[in-house]
């Protein structure tokens, strides 16, 4: 009995615990505060909704346009530069969205070097010429697409690489051209992976506050914080967040429904490598250009600008940057281990074809990714503080000294928040890995009398190693960049690089924020490069 249900039961327990913050936020929907809602409806809510939808649409198209072609080109075609581009395209993952926004604003706004130069050589004044207004909805779409496309690239590329070559070869032998095979076979087969990457990018977009706030774009998320900070109304803010969550749940359900019967693992055994499609001449140049564009925009230009600021203009960081880097690094490492361990447990329980209610419980915690970090932090604080108060009361009853805020006042709260916030990322990668392992392998293991745990250890772990590593590395980078939850939940005297960068940037000292920002990017590079080698090993070269 225990062998049969042990792991699933444990997974349900873990999932329920991780769902607490999301449920706390959803529970606010029940409390009524009609006056403020009426005011929001009358004035700004329509604006928030339209802007948020446009932002989603724009970033969605942006990440697909940047992520899928680059993934296809680097995994299926051969052209000069393919090898280094295949890892370099991941670099924008290390750049936080709010930092790329600050950087491009410094470059491109009317007081920045580009426009000043235009005015100097033409003698025109402001308003006499047209220039792209970076601080706009369009600007926000471009900024977020540039740093979020790696999610799609990463997932799509992994899927292309793992696709059984034989199905494409069958397609070709049936008279498909290589390109036709891509459209009709490879792309549809990669759909779950692409959608997984896309939904990560879109949930990240919905949760973003820093970029849209700085650009003055009123989205649903800025609305949440306006009601929180402006009206001082946590209930209405949480209600807005809960509506956002409901919207995301709806989207996810729709997507699941649309591919309800499809199966995406290959029945064939062959993992042989297909020949790359050789590109030459103008085609090779075009491929190179397509791959260089996101790399330049999402990494090279902002990193170069940050580096210039950091070296020539900013106040030097001082020796405490070692401590900041260590704090950021260790926190990200801890969070990655915790989040991925729990993700594996949950993903595995999901694979065991549980009943509907169990499936719902298991799916719940992943929605934390769509909630802004501050809201998650509040959702984490409330249950943890409640438990802390029970613990204190318990200790006092026994006549012990009060233990203080053991859970909500320590790193546990922070790790809890990170896990809730980024579980979806880890789950996405682990599930994608599990999906490509045929159920027949499980069945074979089961028929040989192995327990689910033994199947996990003996069959899945070796096959899943790279997916798990991918999950861990993405969570690592995400935690490194995370700001709002870190800001509220951190213990006393605990600073990270993201906190330092934010404090200087929000004090309108963009240039002085550059050294800390560049440190985030540099530390983030380490896992991004590891990530590459883990994917490269998936298929023999």
């Amino acid at each position: 009995m225990l062998k049969r249900y042990g792991l699933s039961g444990f997974a349900v327990l873990v999932a329920a615990l991780l769902s607490l913050p999301v449920l706390v936020i959803l529970s606010y929907l029940v409390q009524a505060d009609s006056a403020l809602w009426q005011h929001l409806l009358d004035t700004v809510l329509a604006d928030y909704l339209i802007n948020s939808l446009l932002l989603l649409l724009g970033v969605g198209s942006g990440v697909l346009l940047l992520g899928v072609p680059t993934a296809w080109l680097t995994s299926m075609c051969s052209f000069p530069g393919r090898r280094w581009l295949s890892w370099a395209l991941l670099l924008p993952l290390a750049v936080p969205a709010y930092i790329i926004a600050y950087t491009y604003t410094g470059l491109l706004d009317f007081a920045g070097p580009v426009q000043t130069w235009i005015r100097d050589i033409t003698g025109l004044g402001y308003g006499d010429y047209w220039f792209f207004e970076i601080r706009s909805l369009g600007g926000a779409i471009i900024m977020m697409s540039l740093v979020l496309y790696p999610y799609v690239y990463l997932m799509a590329r992994a899927a292309f690489l793992e696709q059984s070559v034989s199905s494409i070869e069958v397609g070709c032998s049936l008279g498909y051209s290589r390109w036709r095979a891509m459209w009709s076979l490879a792309l549809p087969m990669a759909r779950p992976a692409i959608v997984a990457g896309l939904s990560l990018a879109l949930m990240e977009t919905l949760a973003d506050y820093g970029t849209v706030q700085y650009f003055g774009v009123s989205t649903f998320t800025t609305g949440i914080f306006r009601t929180f900070y402006g009206y001082g109304d946590t209930v209405a803010a949480a209600q807005l967040a809960a509506s956002l969550l409901a919207f995301v749940i709806l989207l996810v359900l729709l997507e699941r429904y649309s591919r309800r019967r499809a199966r995406y693992h290959s029945a064939a055994e062959s993992r042989a490598r297909a020949d790359l499609i050789p590109l030459a001449g103008s085609k090779a140049l075009l491929a190179l250009a397509i791959c260089l564009l996101p790399l330049l925009g999402g990494f090279v230009i902002p990193a170069a600008q940050l580096l210039l600021w950091a070296v020539f203009e900013a106040e030097p960081l001082g020796w405490d940057f070692v401590r900041l880097a260590w704090n950021s690094f260790s926190l990200a490492f801890l969070a990655a281990v915790v989040a991925v361990t729990l993700a594996v447990i949950i993903a595995y329980a999901q694979r065991a074809r549980p009943s509907k209610p169990v499936r719902a419980v298991l799916a719940m915690p992943a929605f934390g990714y769509a909630l802004p970090g501050t809201i998650i932090a509040i959702g984490v604080l409330i249950p943890l503080a409640w438990m802390d108060h029970r613990l204190i009361a318990f200790a006092q009853n026994l006549g012990w000294e009060s233990p203080g805020l053991l859970l909500s006042g320590s790193l546990i709260a922070l790790l809890f928040a990170y896990t809730v916030r980024f579980l979806a990322v880890a789950l996405g990668s682990v599930q994608a890995g599990l999906d490509s392992i045929k159920p027949s392998l499980d069945q074979a293991g089961r028929s040989m009398g192995h327990s689910p745990l033994a199947i996990l250890r003996k069959i899945h772990v070796p096959l899943l190693r790279s997916s798990v590593l991918t999950a861990a590395l993405i969570v690592f980078v995400d935690v490194l960049k995370e700001l709002p939850a870190t800001l509220i939940l951190r213990p006393f005297n605990f600073n990270t690089m993201a906190v330092r960068a934010y404090e200087l940037a929000s004090d309108e000292r963009l240039v002085d924020a550059a050294p800390a920002s560049i440190m985030i990017v540099l530390v983030g590079l380490i896992p991004v490069l590891l990530l590459h080698s883990s994917i490269a090993r998936r298929r023999p070269h």
Binding site: L40, F110, G230, L405, R457, D507
Partner: protein, 346 residues
């Protein structure tokens, strides 16, 4: 499997190292809505003279306030520091502060700059006047905040977003002076006169005025002070094109009420475990030394009358302040945001 074991060993080890909490004989725990760079040096100086260790968390004021509320009686925080009287008032309303009658502070800090019941004390003053482009604006054109709604300013104004609490407090003060209807009309006129949609911070508005995007803005003086004292030629060049105008100085009645100002301040928390040390820290923050530090480092005005201010602040000239009791900013904040929503001030 060994790899996994190694990972967990490292994880556990890290958790132990990172999770260490500092304990000292005498401590005071501070939640601060002020940035670390603008509070930590003072706290360090305090620790050095008194031997009391200060533990600090900085963050967004409203989020820290929420943390205080949720932590309740178990909260470790002794002192809550933040900018904006509206926030301080909100903390008082939320029931996380403790009223303290501190005769030493009451003597030094004018009554308008602290809570009437002693829940919080203002620590620095921040003025939010009109800042204009010297080249394109004739000073005779300028008079009051309210006049910026006039047709003469069509397409000439830059404003920061209404998300900024500084703007919310300015509107809250105007509601107190003129009433909601007149404030609404003023907001609509001013939004109509905007040269571009609100985006960026105060410094961005100053840069926009210098670059010729618009001619005037409303900004806190310390941002201009920072540009003036910057070591960078580019920033000094921006500052040299700008000047401060103190609005609402002439006459009596609401339009002659004086320029808008606000405070940063602090209050003792209701459940603080180190009230004695927190009071000492509060007294230190109101000392001449600390007051001068804020004037020199961040160009904020001292709350304590008679403390010397920096040459930059002297250069801005003297002005009449709106004598409004600052807690009204907090009381009117919600209505202010509603009016800004209605006027379409993003």
């Amino acid at each position: 499997m060994t790899l996994i074991k190694q990972v967990f060993c490292i994880t556990f080890g890290l958790a132990l190292v990172v999770g260490q909490s500092a304990q000292a004989a005498e401590v005071v725990n501070v939640y601060s809505g002020r940035k670390e760079a603008l509070i930590k040096p003072l706290l360090d100086a305090f620790s050095e003279t008194t031997g009391i260790k200060v533990n600090l968390i900085t963050g967004k004021a409203d989020a820290l306030l929420k943390r205080l509320q949720v932590e309740g009686s178990a909260s470790p925080a002794d002192l809550f520091i933040t900018v904006d009287a509206g926030r301080l008032h909100r903390a008082k309303e939320a029931g996380v502060l403790k009223p303290m009658s501190l005769p030493g502070l009451e003597q030094r800090i004018p009554a308008a700059l602290r809570d009437a019941d002693g829940y919080w004390y203002g620590l620095t003053l921040r003025a939010r006047p009109i800042i204009y482009a010297k080249e394109r604006v004739d000073v005779a054109e300028l008079s009051t905040y309210e006049a910026l709604a006039g047709a003469a300013w069509d397409g000439r104004i830059c404003l920061r977003s209404s998300q900024a609490v500084y703007n919310q407090s300015l509107v809250a003060a105007t509601i107190d002076a003129l009433g909601a209807a007149a404030t609404q009309a003023w907001l609509e006129g001013m939004v109509n006169n905007l040269a571009k949609p609100p985006a960026g911070g105060d410094v961005d508005q100053l840069k926009a005025v210098a670059a010729g995007v618009c001619d005037v803005t409303i900004a806190n003086t310390y941002y201009l002070g920072r540009l003036i004292n910057s070591g960078k030629a580019k920033e000094q060049a921006i500052a040299s094109q700008l000047a401060v105008f103190w609005p609402n100085q002439k006459g009596s009645g609401p339009l002659g009420r004086g320029a808008h100002f606000n405070v940063s301040g602090a209050g003792l928390t209701k459940y603080g475990k180190h009230p004695q040390q927190a009071q000492e820290l509060l007294a230190y923050l109101a000392s001449d030394e600390a007051q001068r530090w804020y004037a020199d480092i961040n160009n904020e005005y001292p709350v304590v009358p008679g403390v010397d201010v920096s040459a930059t602040l002297v250069g801005f000239g003297s002005y009449k302040m709106d004598p409004i009791a600052l807690q009204i900013l907090g009381q009117n904040n919600r209505q202010a945001v509603q009016l800004m929503d209605r006027a379409g001030w993003r």
